[in-house]
């Protein structure tokens, strides 16, 4: 059990946030968002990790073998499905933004301001 995955996750989360805040290109913004999400994978997998344990596929290993927690792996799968959906949707919107605004720079998106 090490703190490394959690430290890396925190770093990824913050790096992704910084990427979004500082981005001058929507594609970079969206990729930064996926970096934020990568942090969640690391946290989940880190939570389920156990030293010297095997992958939890009990067809291949004895029922009594020590395995990592399968629940978090399922959660990560769900997480990945969500990421694929949201990223695809956002990229489609970015394509449209490029068509309608003629730019991918968030500063040039000026349809909404108070």
């Amino acid at each position: 059990m090490s703190f490394l995955p959690f430290a890396v996750a925190a770093w990824l989360f913050l790096a992704g946030l910084y990427g979004i805040v500082s981005s001058r290109n929507l594609i970079r913004t969206i990729l930064s968002l996926t970096i934020v999400q990568s942090a969640t994978y690391l946290v989940l997998l880190g939570v389920g990790y156990a030293d010297h344990a095997q992958a939890p596929i009990f067809a291949d290993i004895p029922q009594t073998a020590k395995a990592v927690d399968p629940v978090v792996q399922v959660l990560v799968l769900t997480d990945i499905v969500i990421e694929a959906t949201v990223t695809a949707l956002l990229l489609a919107m970015a394509v449209q933004a490029h068509k309608r605004f003629g730019s991918l720079d968030p500063s040039d998106l000026r349809a909404l301001r108070d």
Binding site: V86, Q96, A111
Partner: protein
């Protein structure tokens, strides 16, 4: 009861069916089919509500029941507040779908399918007893909502609104995933009842506090609390009107609901010694939200944006109500959500009528054009009074409970905040009613406080028409009638108070979810209206009318104000408005600051 899962399954199955056949089905079949499904879900949820009022119960999907307090399966944990919210969501979806029959000139099955998935996600969100499912339904609700916001994908406003909404809420969801993972690491459970049971009797350590912060800031993003609210005004200004109805009417409120649910199922045990501090933190966020939203609301000229900020202001009230951490505060929020949701849904629909007919939604462009539409004007004015919580409509009962709860908790100044919020949000709607339907007040440009034109960002419908379909007036009229009447139904408000008392019974929740069987609640007390409730209600109403009248008729008074008062006020307002830049980077910077603020104060004061 096996119909429980149908509330989510029916719309989930109907939606792809509509999409699969959309090239062959005529419009009418999509309209009738989707509305029929929404009515069916409303009926199912109402049946659940009727059953659960007698006794809350957990439904274990595929029969994976818990044994010895350990859950493997996933539960839908049905209690009156959750089932009531799901029913309310289904009713609003029905209303929005009926309204969209005539609102859209052309809508293929995709729109209907998205609305049904949205409904499935909201129903699942209200009913689930599983923390991870709660977050997944949050994301599902989000993904559909992003697509619905950018439904008019050919236009600039919706694209930008959709992007800002999607990125803000996705970050919120990822923070929540981390929160869920941390709680799972601590307790080995995902069911809220089991997590709550595992945390009981332990003090709140940093891990639990960080998990709570991440979950709360996520739901506060959905609920649009300051400073994580920026996406809301953008999304509401550009989303199609039937979608705005759902965003403001129920989706945003679900964020508030989730905070209440998480607190009383999971964190009530470890946080009990620090309830006073948590109360102060939540009320601080709520108060700032209520006041910021009120000021921004009153200074708008774009009607949908005005209504969006009005929603933010009300979210502030709800957050304060939840933050009071009492049964009475919770009951006040639940009552208020019903009254506010129906009112705001109707007001968005009426704004849609203006847009549909005149092709603009700018208060100054519409100056006096509504003179020939007395009915719509009267409905608008009714909506304004309802937002001001005039005695004795549903919002008034909600606000009275909140006032009582605030005074019980020794926050005697909080009702003043509520009055300011009601005054500004109600006054703004009354003001625009006077300007649009009676031609009162300044026409163009004379009023510098509101001088940011809003035409460019509104491209939803640009054609003007000389008629309004009757259905588009009938639906909001019915919703407004509901907003007036529901609080007056005998037993409705006391029923909500009882449900709220049961909702916050942490030990009983764990019992009826994990052990099944009949829950035994101590008798719940119900409250009565006090004289000061009428005073606050009347004060807010009179204040709203005066505020509207002053801005319409006496706006030149402003020139007589000494510069030392006027210039800082105008500069402050300009700064506040300047923060809503439409730039996603700015929004996420504020989000990070908000998360750090909530996390920092929690770690300092709740440990």
């Amino acid at each position: 009861m096996h119909i429980t899962a149908l509330t989510v399954a029916v719309p989930m199955i109907a939606a792809p069916t509509l999409v699969a056949f959309r090239h062959w089905t005529p419009r009418i079949l999509n309209d009738v089919g989707a509305t029929g499904v929404a009515v069916a879900v409303a009926t199912l949820c109402a049946l659940l509500l009727a059953k659960t009022i007698k006794n809350p119960f957990a439904y274990w999907l595929a029969g994976w029941r818990p044994s010895h307090m350990v859950t493997i399966g996933i539960s839908l944990s049905i209690d009156p507040i959750g089932a009531g919210l799901a029913t309310f969501a289904a009713i609003l979806v029905t209303g929005a779908l009926v309204y969209s029959w005539r609102y859209f000139d052309a809508a293929d099955g995709l729109f209907h399918a998205l609305m049904l998935v949205f409904l499935a996600a909201m129903a699942g969100f209200s009913l689930t007893g599983d923390l991870f499912n709660l977050v997944v339904f949050f994301e599902l609700m989000g993904a559909v909502a992003y697509a619905l916001t950018a439904y008019k994908i050919e236009e600039r406003g919706p694209i930008q609104g959709g992007i800002n909404f999607a990125i803000s809420n996705s970050i919120a969801a990822y923070a929540m995933f981390v929160g869920v993972a941390l709680l799972y690491a601590r307790t080995g459970a995902l069911n809220m009842a089991q997590i709550g049971a595992a945390l009981d009797g332990h003090r709140a350590d940093p891990l639990v506090i960080v998990a709570m912060t991440l979950l709360f800031i996520g739901f506060m993003t959905k609920a649009a609390a300051i400073p994580v609210h920026f996406w809301l005004a953008d999304a509401h200004a550009v989303a199609p009107t039937p979608v705005c109805v759902l965003f403001s009417g129920v989706m945003v409120e679900l964020g508030v609901y989730a905070i209440a649910r998480l607190y009383w199922t999971i964190f009530a045990g470890p946080m009990a010694p620090h309830a006073e501090e948590l109360r102060a933190i939540l009320i601080a966020f709520g108060t700032v939200t209520a006041l910021w939203g009120a000021v921004m609301c009153f200074s708008q000229r774009h009607i949908k944006r005005l209504l969006a900020f009005s929603t933010i202001s009300h979210v502030g009230l709800f957050l304060c109500g939840i933050g009071l951490l009492s049964a009475k505060g919770l009951a006040g929020v639940a009552t208020y959500i019903v009254g506010h949701g129906l009112t705001k849904a109707a007001l968005f629909m009426l704004a849609g009528v203006l847009l549909h007919r005149f092709g603009t939604i700018d208060e100054f462009d519409l100056h006096g054009v509504g003179r020939g539409l007395p009915l719509i004007g009267a409905l608008f004015a009714t909506g304004g009074l309802l937002l001001a919580a005039v005695p004795v409509v549903t919002t008034f009962f909600g606000k009275s409970l909140l006032d009582g709860a605030a005074i019980d908790a020794h926050y005697a100044w909080l009702p003043t905040v509520f009055v300011i919020s009601s005054m500004c949000t109600g006054g703004a709607v009354l003001r625009l009613t006077g300007r649009v339907f009676l031609g009162w007040g300044a026409s163009e440009r004379e009023d510098v406080v509101q001088a940011v034109p809003a035409r460019e960002e509104e491209d939803e419908e640009t054609a003007t028409r000389d008629f309004t379909p009757r259905l588009m007036v009938l639906v909001p009229a019915v919703l407004l009638a509901g907003a007036i009447m529901i609080g007056l139904i005998p037993g409705a408000v006391p029923g909500i108070e009882t449900a709220a008392a049961h909702f916050r019974d942490h030990a009983s929740y764990i019992g009826w979810v994990l052990h099944g069987g009949r829950a035994h609640f101590p008798p719940a007390s119900t409250s009565h209206l006090e004289t000061y409730d009428y005073l606050y209600g009347a004060g807010a109403t009179v204040g709203a009318i005066v505020l509207a009248a002053v801005t319409l008729f006496a706006y030149r008074l402003k020139d007589r104000l000494p510069a030392i008062v006027l210039s800082p006020a105008l500069a402050g307002l300009r700064t506040l408005r300047g923060l809503h830049s439409g730039h996603i980077g700015d929004y996420i910077a504020w989000w990070t600051a908000g998360a750090a603020l909530l996390g920092g104060t929690s770690l300092v004061f709740l440990k």
